[in-house]
Symmetry: C2
Subunit: 375 residues, 2 copies
Amino acid sequence: MKSDDERVAIVGVGHSRFGKRLDVSMNELGWEAIRPALQDADIVQKDIDFYSVGNFGYWSEEILPAVTIGEYAGLTCGSLKTEAACASGSASLKIAMDSILSGTARIAMAMGIEKMYNSPNGTIIELIGRAGNYFWEFENFGMTFPGYYALYATKYLDAYNAREEDLCEAAVKAHHYGSLNPYAQFQKETTVEECMKSKYVSRPLKLMDSSPITDGAAAVILARGDIAKKMTDTPIYIESQGTATGTAYIGRRDEYTGLEASRRAADIAFRGAGLSGVGSNFDLFEVHDCFTIAEVMAYEDLGIAKKGEGINLLRGKQTYRDGKYPVNLDGGLKSKGHPIGATGISQAVEITKQLRGEAEKGRQADIKKGRGAAA
Amino acid sequence: MKSDDERVAIVGVGHSRFGKRLDVSMNELGWEAIRPALQDADIVQKDIDFYSVGNFGYWSEEILPAVTIGEYAGLTCGSLKTEAACASGSASLKIAMDSILSGTARIAMAMGIEKMYNSPNGTIIELIGRAGNYFWEFENFGMTFPGYYALYATKYLDAYNAREEDLCEAAVKAHHYGSLNPYAQFQKETTVEECMKSKYVSRPLKLMDSSPITDGAAAVILARGDIAKKMTDTPIYIESQGTATGTAYIGRRDEYTGLEASRRAADIAFRGAGLSGVGSNFDLFEVHDCFTIAEVMAYEDLGIAKKGEGINLLRGKQTYRDGKYPVNLDGGLKSKGHPIGATGISQAVEITKQLRGEAEKGRQADIKKGRGAAA
């Protein structure tokens, strides 16, 4: 059993409104997340010993955002930017957590931010494509991320006898919870019919299978366990984190119905928390549903469902709030939005709010185990 | 006293040749540093639990280099990219060190890389300018980094009765040691006369006061102290690291003869190592001489010299190998080159080689204390 000073807890969270945010600068958008996080933790800037900024970058006006956002927010401690493609926010969380566990910081802030609407549309698609194997797959074959996930969807639907309508169920769930989340980019319900009528982006994935382009920021304040306990009655401990890197070449992957790196990272995280897997250990989950198929694969990679059975969870509405495994009760990337560098931090904000019982009406999970997981 | 498993040591180092490296891709350049580091540590890729890549980016063909470099090098553990402007390499070292101290990794790699020659020259100057306050100072006043340091040089020369010739002494020293370093971009001596005849870049700074545009990579393998001892007879312990962030607006700074954030970071690092300052504790130093004036200010910010007396160290050749405080015996940024993301790691490689007694002939410091410092 770890002692309190060997643990890290979230003691404050902040979240900007996600969407098309041409109304604010990068620094202002960051402050929209940092200010409520400071208030929630009941601390001031000088209490923070270190902060990290998750950011993919390249499309916003600030290409070196860590210093400018920190300065705008009144922070003078050490800082850096982290980038790990779509996991940039989660990487920021890891770095801030490590800074406390290593003994270099007592209180740290992990934030993430992205402003994507500043960039012309064609450029965005190219930039996202660079998170794959750019020189071979983008330049030769024009592969972009909808294309990558369309390959997975095609294989999955074929292998497990699923239909496009089944994937649309993930979009319906996402929009349902997004409609209840005041920070979400899309706050309206949708239906399987509407999803099916939406245009193909990359067959079999349609517009309504896809997460949007989003501007947004999120921040969490972390503290060493013993300090956290003095700061709040509801510290949310981060029991463990797992990271893994897979191949960026889709042509080199072994199979197209799941992500091997996700499974390795989840395995590391479960072992770090002394768990053998999902079991009945969690009250809720946050997964990376950049496309509907990604949500289904995440169910299986995390171990919520066996291989090929993720689609059944959707069909049976088992990942709704009142199902067996509540997933993405904030609307997920699909409806809440996917400001890349902010996404991992936004997931941490959501799990914190849920475990505290502070989620909005209609989307608050029933907290029994006091534990949530994000992938 | 910390126990071995609470410490981190460098157990392997690798360094690419610095210079105009249009002969290699980003991934190949990374491998030029990673391969010798693995060999030096006598490990294989799967022994590494985590790696970080320091990279400023924006000018090379790979804008998300952590995954592609790792994949090319055969690494599959968790990874991320760090950016902290010109301290991106040092940030990478911090992250990898924290990953061990936090208990998440036993062996980690910190590397840094930059390919700057891929970018058109005008773009480079603009991109570097973005590390300052871009919107106010670059767009309104055309401020770029030579301009920033020229303001500091003007103030320093005036305040302390120094001459441009004195600054040129730093260039002469840098080129002397660069001429002895096979990895350096410039391997030739220079003179005060030659430096004085070089063109002004931003008065009073001349071409020969300035570090060049450079492509290069460097890597260090870190291990938890108890593991490091089993791996090598010469573990080089990282006793502490300090980080601080100053204002990016030059107009908001208090004074123009030193960098306040450097002083705070150095103070944190000294305290972390249980030292009150430079004293006679170190055999050698590595400082960030992006311009000759930066080297002089670093003497003072680190505490090698009192305020206004840094220039005297240069005049008296006290920062040469046989002086009281040997500084940048590898040629420094000025002569070795400054591939931004690689620079902090290159400094760690250099100090490791020096403390092991493995530096090239003519530039090996006399190691008595067994301790070096980098800023």
